[in-house]
């Protein structure tokens, strides 16, 4: 196939419309636009929060007002008017429905389109008597619709194991001591501009606590969806794995297709105590904007894990295909001796998407180890940047890092960038970093086509092979989803 024909196929594939772009018409309870102390008081009041949390939010707001939006990432966007957003939007609550028939059919249709199974749908919609126990695969789910968590499933099973999995607003009420102890202990209010904003206005998100020695009996999962127009979504997730415990947590995200840009500024904090393990997987598929770069989510997210205890381990796995802008660096602070941090990432950008994503591995404790595997794929007019830091502090004897960072370019109008910072202050540390940039090799493409694969399938196969080291880190069901998502995201970008 000639070069230009190849490019055509590529464009046909990348231009596939976003499949999750519907919006739901539901009566919403919305705060007026704008951000002042009063907005924060209103959010806090709606959520019936204790005084300490309101004070904490107001502190964050004061800090945020003095901060400047960061400009070091390779992303460009028109200035965001923080006064032109709604900071609170919730589906209007009616009395709890008695059966599925009484549930707002729009809400149900939304869950259906998102592929959430019926039983969970009923629970998510708050149907009385619907229980999560059943024959389905064991995934407990929390769904956050705009600003509020609409329901959490499988609570009973989890409670038996002593696991707490609930909306963070509920945790504030039911488990105030835990929340107060850990909230902001990994990402403080003043951490960065977007984190400070989140601290001030976060509305909901998930809370997880795994007691000592408990292996969480099922995958925990949160589904995030932005629906309302002109709203920002600021969810906050807090996961604590107490000594010797284990949890695997999944998050997925989608949003409707809209012409204007929507802001998403989440904060995720993970804490792993001695011998605890947290595996955090994300499939991020926020609306990326259309083929001309109109609309799409601005995704400014702070995710950080604190390996507080000895031999603790935190792994981040992400498949990022959505958002107009991704600004995201899931990091690990390796404080405990022998603790382990991992970051596995696939980031795909097409059309006019911009992704600036990577990780930080801060080695503080002895014999701490980290692994970074990043695969960037850029197509169309997009720009895809890996930005990562590996830092070894003087006391981190025997620290180890291995970083592998590969970029694939599809077509000649995109950009791929690699910006690692490698800093060591301990001679016994051993750091290795490798990065490559290339296009799909012509001989690989030809080899596949000689065996009868269409060009598109050949590209799909090669790209999936390229990403394999990351995809294999995802829980099984998620990996299949992610592979499909990759193929769909790249449809039309072959070259």
């Amino acid at each position: 196939m000639s070069e230009s024909a190849t490019l055509e196929t590529l464009n046909a594939v990348t231009a596939t419309p976003y499949k999750w772009g519907f919006s739901t018409d539901i009566e919403m309870d919305m705060a007026p636009k704008g951000l002042t102390e009063d907005t924060i008081r209103l959010i806090s009041a709606r959520k019936e929060e204790p005084a300490w949390l309101l004070a904490w939010r107001l502190e964050a707001f004061a800090v945020w007002q003095k901060m400047e939006e960061p400009d070091w990432a390779r992303v460009k966007h028109p200035p965001i008017d923080y006064q032109d957003l709604h900071y609170y939007a919730a589906p209007k609550k009616k009395a709890g429905p008695k059966s599925l028939d009484e549930v707002d059919p729009e809400l149900l249709r939304t869950y259906e389109k998102l592929g959430i199974p019926l039983k969970e749908r009923a629970i998510l919609a708050g149907v009385e008597g619907a229980d999560g126990e059943g024959d389905r695969p064991q995934v407990a789910m929390d769904a956050v619709f705009d600003s509020v968590s609409v329901a959490t499933t499988f609570k009973a099973t989890l409670a038996k194991a002593g696991v707490i999995f609930c909306p963070i607003s509920e945790a504030v009420r039911e488990h105030p001591n835990l929340v107060q102890k850990y909230l902001g202990s990994v990402v403080p209010q003043s951490d960065n501009f977007f984190a400070a904003l989140n601290c001030a206005v976060f509305t909901d998100g998930s809370f997880v606590y795994i007691p000592p020695g408990v292996r969480c009996p099922m995958e925990l999962s949160t589904y995030f969806r932005i629906n309302a127009r002109n709203t920002g979504q600021f969810e906050r997730t807090l996961i604590i794995a107490d000594a010797g415990s284990y949890v695997s947590y999944l998050e997925g995200c989608t949003a409707p297709q809209r012409d204007e840009n929507q802001l998403h500024a989440a904060v995720v904090e993970l804490i792993a105590h001695d011998d605890a393990q947290i595996k955090y997987s994300t499939v991020q598929n926020w609306y990326p904007g259309d083929a001309e770069g109109r609309g799409g989510i601005y995704n400014f997210v702070t995710k950080r894990g604190d390996c507080r205890g000895a031999r603790s381990k935190i792994s981040w796995t992400q498949v990022e295909t959505g958002s107009a802008i991704t600004w995201k660096y899931p990091s690990c602070v390796l404080r405990g001796d022998d603790s382990v941090g991992e970051f596995y990432s696939v980031a795909v950008t097409t059309n006019y998407q911009q992704a600036d994503t990577g990780t930080k591995m801060i080695h503080i404790g002895r014999n701490t180890r980290s692994t970074i595997v990043s695969k960037g794929i850029s197509a169309g007019h997009s720009n895809n940047t890996y930005r990562g830091q590996v830092k070894v502090m003087p006391k981190a004897h025997g620290a180890r890092n291995h970083t592998q960072c590969d970029s694939l370019l599809i077509g000649s109008t995109c950009g791929a960038h690699t910006v690692p910072y490698i800093e060591s202050r301990n001679p016994t540390a051993k750091l290795e970093h490798e990065a490559t940039t290339s296009k799909i090799a012509e001989d690989q493409l030809f080899y596949c086509r000689q065996r009868g694969l269409s060009e598109e399938d050949a590209v799909g196969l090669i790209v999936n092979g390229f990403c394999k080291d990351v995809l294999k880190e995802l829980p099984m069901e998620f990996a299949v989803e992610a592979q499909k998502l990759l193929a769909v995201s790249l449809e039309g970008s072959v070259g």
């Binding site: 196939m1 000639s2 070069e3 090799a441 012509e442 001989d443 690989q444 030809f446 080899y447 596949c448 086509r449 000689q450 065996r451 009868g452 694969l453 269409s454 060009e455 399938d457 196969l461 090669i462 999936n464 092979g465 390229f466 990403c467 394999k468 080291d469």
Partner: protein, 249 residues
């Protein structure tokens, strides 16, 4: 099966094939021999439709259809298989998965039912066994970390599973140990039938002891300068190309 007339082709503007005429009837095996750089691999790439190999004249018909107008995958679906002189590595792509995808794509293109995972597993295991290849070759990534000989055997395994009508083997015997050589030959001989053909590119008469060709052609300087029966290979083995080339000049 295959009918090539006056085929000329160039790479990077440099003429490599300078007028090839070749007919491979149904059911026949033809061998192509020739000095290094004479254009043998170029011919196989042109037939398989590789980018960058520009056909500047002539024609090639495959079962009567215009081969040169087809996309590479369409040629494959039509039954043309090329065992590469230098098989390509596909990191992260599982060999079995690759083969099943390829086989099903071809079957789809031909309007045949696809094989499910279980059917395919049975087929691939059986073929691997018949070629005395270890099962784990199927589990590994395509050609990644394979030794030179393993890559060639993997090409033959793929051929056995895909069952082409016309197999072109570009020096599949190079780098093989004696046992593997027999395996390759068995693979080709197993495909032999009234409706299948093969074009075997080789430097060594040895392979032709196992795959007895119907015809032998000498390709030099981008042209077929001599054709003959199996005895021609023996003659070349004994006296080299020089005399043949001189004779043709």
């Amino acid at each position: 099966m295959l009918k090539i007339e006056g085929l000329t082709a160039s790479v990077d503007g440099k003429a490599i094939l300078k007028g090839i005429d070749l007919v491979v009837p149904d059911g026949e095996v033809h061998a192509i021999m020739g000095p290094n750089g004479s254009g043998k691999s170029t011919l196989s790439y042109v037939l398989a439709g590789r980018d960058g190999y520009e056909v500047t004249g002539g024609s090639a018909a495959f079962d009567g259809a215009d081969l040169l107008a087809m996309e590479p995958e369409a040629r494959a679906a039509a039954g043309l298989f090329l065992a590469f002189q230098y098989p390509v590595e596909l990191p992260g792509v599982n060999n079995a998965n690759f083969l099943r995808t390829a086989l099903n794509a071809q079957r789809r293109a031909r309007g045949e039912a696809e094989l499910d995972a279980v059917q395919f597993l049975k087929l691939s295991r059986a073929e691997a066994k018949r070629l005395s290849m270890p099962d784990d070759m199927l589990k590994r990534n395509v050609n990644v970390g394979f030794s030179g000989g393993e890559k060639k055997r993997n090409e033959v395994l793929q051929m056995a599973i895909l069952r082409p009508k016309l197999a072109i083997l570009d020096e599949t015997d190079s780098g093989l140990d004696i046992d593997a050589l027999k395996i390759v030959a068995d693979g080709v001989n197993a495909l032999r039938g009234p409706a299948t053909s093969a074009l075997v590119i080789t430097h060594y008469q040895r392979l032709l002891d196992y795959i007895v060709p119907d015809r032998v052609h000498v390709l030099a300087g981008g042209r077929i300068i001599r054709s003959g029966g199996p005895e021609l290979a023996l003659e070349l083995e004994a006296s080299g190309y020089a005399s043949v080339v001189a004779e043709a000049a």
